[in-house]
Every structure is written in structure tokens, then in C-alpha cells.
């Protein structure tokens, strides 16, 4: 499958360490309100922050808002592992996040209309 190879970073390398090792064995993020469509962005533009490799990679990637699903796909790591890493970065003040809007929120109509307008323009 060509598709699977296209988004691997560092040429064709797969993950260099097993997923749970990256998260130091943790399977539960410290923040429980992170979802696959939660958007994350690096808090600042400076890239020379002294953090481990995976964290630094996330910070470089997140100069634009990305969903946790996109971070997971690009790093080729399961969502749960990425949530653990992002929880750390959020706790350290290096990443900010925004949860998806609740469907129970009142201005649902405006949201739906905006999505419809956007799709029509495709």
C-alpha cells in the first residue's frame, strides 16, 4: 500500500521504539478531556525547547493548529500514546488545546450552517 508510506517521517523509518516506551509505560493521559478532534497548537513559535525527541517533533508539527488524530497519524503512534505526550506538553505550558464544541451547545444552528456553507464552496 503506497498510502501507508507517504506520511512516515524520517524516510521510510517506522517507529524506533515501541509506542508505550515513548510514553514511559503510561497508558492514561493526565488530562482526560483530550479527544481525537481536540485541536492543539504549540504555545510559542520558538523551536529550541529542551525536551525529548518526540515532544520536540510534536512542537515543530504543531506550529499550526492540528487535531490529535493528525498528530497521531503523522507520528505513527496510537491515539492514547499521543494523548499522554500532549498531556505532558499541556501541563508544561508548551501546548494549548481546544476541545470540540459540545453538540448540546446552543449556537448549533450557526455551526451547522457554517459547515454547510463551507462544503458548498468545495
Amino acid at each position: 500500500m503506497k498510502l501507508e508510506n507517504e506520511f512516515w517521517f524520517d524516510e521510510d523509518a517506522g517507529p524506533l521504539v515501541r509506542p508505550y516506551a515513548v510514553a514511559r509505560g503510561r497508558t492514561r493521559p493526565t488530562r482526560h478531556n483530550l479527544e481525537m478532534t481536540t485541536l492543539v497548537v504549540a504555545a510559542r513559535t520558538d523551536r529550541d525547547v529542551n525536551v525529548d525527541r518526540e515532544y520536540a517533533h510534536i512542537l515543530r508539527m504543531c506550529q499550526q493548529p492540528l487535531s490529535i488524530a493528525e498528530v497521531s497519524a503523522t507520528l505513527n503512534l496510537p491515539l492514547v500514546v499521543v494523548k499522554v505526550l500532549l498531556s505532558d506538553l499541556i501541563d508544561w505550558g508548551l501546548v494549548i488545546f481546544r476541545s470540540p464544541p459540545r453538540t448540546s451547545d446552543v449556537p448549533q444552528m450557526e455551526l451547522l450552517q457554517a459547515v454547510l456553507d463551507g462544503i458548498r464552496k468545495l
Binding site: 513559535t45 493528525e70 462544503i119 468545495l122
Partner: protein, 208 residues
């Protein structure tokens, strides 16, 4: 941990928010094709590790009986405007796994159930799932070459779904056709939201 800060550093703000729509249906029905035909990025693949209790084993003993399964899903992205991003998630092929994946369905705006008339039964489970979770959905019949053609009402009957649920024919390989499916879904969702907020007004409008 030492953080190096520089004078040139700019603080990012995050005003954007993201919403999602699910594309469901049986294996090989064209979910990823549909995602890819409207997405602004080539479909990405993410995966999750889901824990399930093994069946047929003594389940009194706890953690030993849990098995972890990796489930993959493909998704695409449509930037509606700088503050709003739509993600389209194609549900994984192995139904028994995505049905227990609560996060996937959580806060989804709605869903498209893709159907293949050669094996309509392959989307029964998805229809059932969305009905039970009260996630608004529509049915899009992906017209494969050489597939038997049915009338919309025949498909509705076969799936035993309500007449109010939009059911359309489409060809998900074509961007315009996939786009039209999404337009239909959004119009349906807007109609539902409207009648939920102002039921009296909606009745008046319909009786005109």
C-alpha cells in the same frame, strides 16, 4: 526542565475548533474513497488500542482476560474557515471494534451510512448503531458499476428506516457526488436542529 525563551518568540492563540462527521458502512463499500474525494489532504490513518474482555474465558480474574486490539481509521480534513475545521472519519472495517469505540461517535455532528446494493446487509449494523446512539444519519447508496439498481424506496424498505432519513444515490469516487452527499446530510441536520429549537414554527412552515 529548562525552557529556552527567545525575544522573537510569538505566542499562538487557538480560536479554531473542530467538528466531525462519520462515514460508516460495511467493508469495501468506499468509506476511505469518499473521505479522500472531498478531503483537502490525502486521507491519514490513525490508530487506537482498544481493550476488550476476551470471551469464553473465566472473566472473574480481571486484567489477564483483557486483550488489546489495534484498530485503524482513515480520516480527512476540510478547513471550512480559519476558525472551523471539519474532519471526516471513516469507521474501521471491523465493526465489533468500532462499536465499542465510544470516542469515535462522541459529539459527532452526524453520520453517512454508505450502502452497497450487492450486499445491503453489510450496513445494517451501522444503521442500528446510529439509531441506538441517537446520532443523526443518512444513507448514501454507492453505485458500483454492475451493481443492481434499486429505487430509493426499495433501499429504505430493505433497511427499514424512516422516510424522514435522507437516502440518496452517489458515486463516492467523484468529488462532486461526495460533496452532494455531505450537503444533504448538513441540510438534514439543520432541519433537525430547527425543529428541535422551534417545533411550532417548523409545523407552520411544513403546512404551507
Amino acid at each position: 526542565m529548562a525552557f529556552v525563551s527567545s525575544e522573537t518568540s510569538v505566542t499562538h492563540a487557538l480560536s479554531a475548533r473542530a467538528v466531525k462527521i462519520l462515514i460508516a458502512g460495511g467493508f469495501g463499500v468506499g468509506k476511505t474513497t469518499m473521505v479522500g474525494s472531498v478531503s483537502e489532504i490525502r486521507p491519514l490513518r490513525t490508530e487506537e488500542m482498544l481493550t476488550e474482555l476476551s470471551s469464553g474465558v473465566d472473566d472473574l480474574s480481571g486484567v489477564e482476560d483483557k486483550t488489546t486490539t489495534t484498530v485503524a481509521l482513515d480520516f480527512g480534513r476540510i478547513t471550512i474557515n480559519p476558525d472551523l475545521i471539519l474532519y471526516l472519519f471513516g469507521t474501521p472495517g471491523q465493526e465489533r471494534f468500532w462499536f465499542m469505540w465510544d470516542e469515535l461517535a462522541y459529539e459527532a455532528l452526524g453520520a453517512v451510512v454508505l450502502a452497497d446494493t450487492r450486499r445491503l446487509e453489510s450496513c445494517f449494523a451501522a444503521v442500528d448503531f446510529f439509531e441506538r446512539r441517537e446520532i443523526p444519519f443518512m444513507v448514501a447508496v454507492n453505485c458500483f458499476d454492475n451493481a443492481p439498481l434499486y429505487e430509493i424506496h426499495e433501499v429504505r424498505e430493505a433497511l427499514s428506516i424512516d422516510n424522514a432519513i435522507p437516502t440518496v444515490l452517489c458515486d463516492v469516487r467523484k468529488r462532486n457526488s461526495s460533496k452532494q452527499v455531505l450537503v444533504t446530510l448538513l441540510e438534514y441536520l439543520i432541519g433537525l436542529a430547527r425543529s428541535a429549537t422551534a417545533p411550532a414554527e417548523a409545523d407552520v412552515a411544513e403546512s404551507r
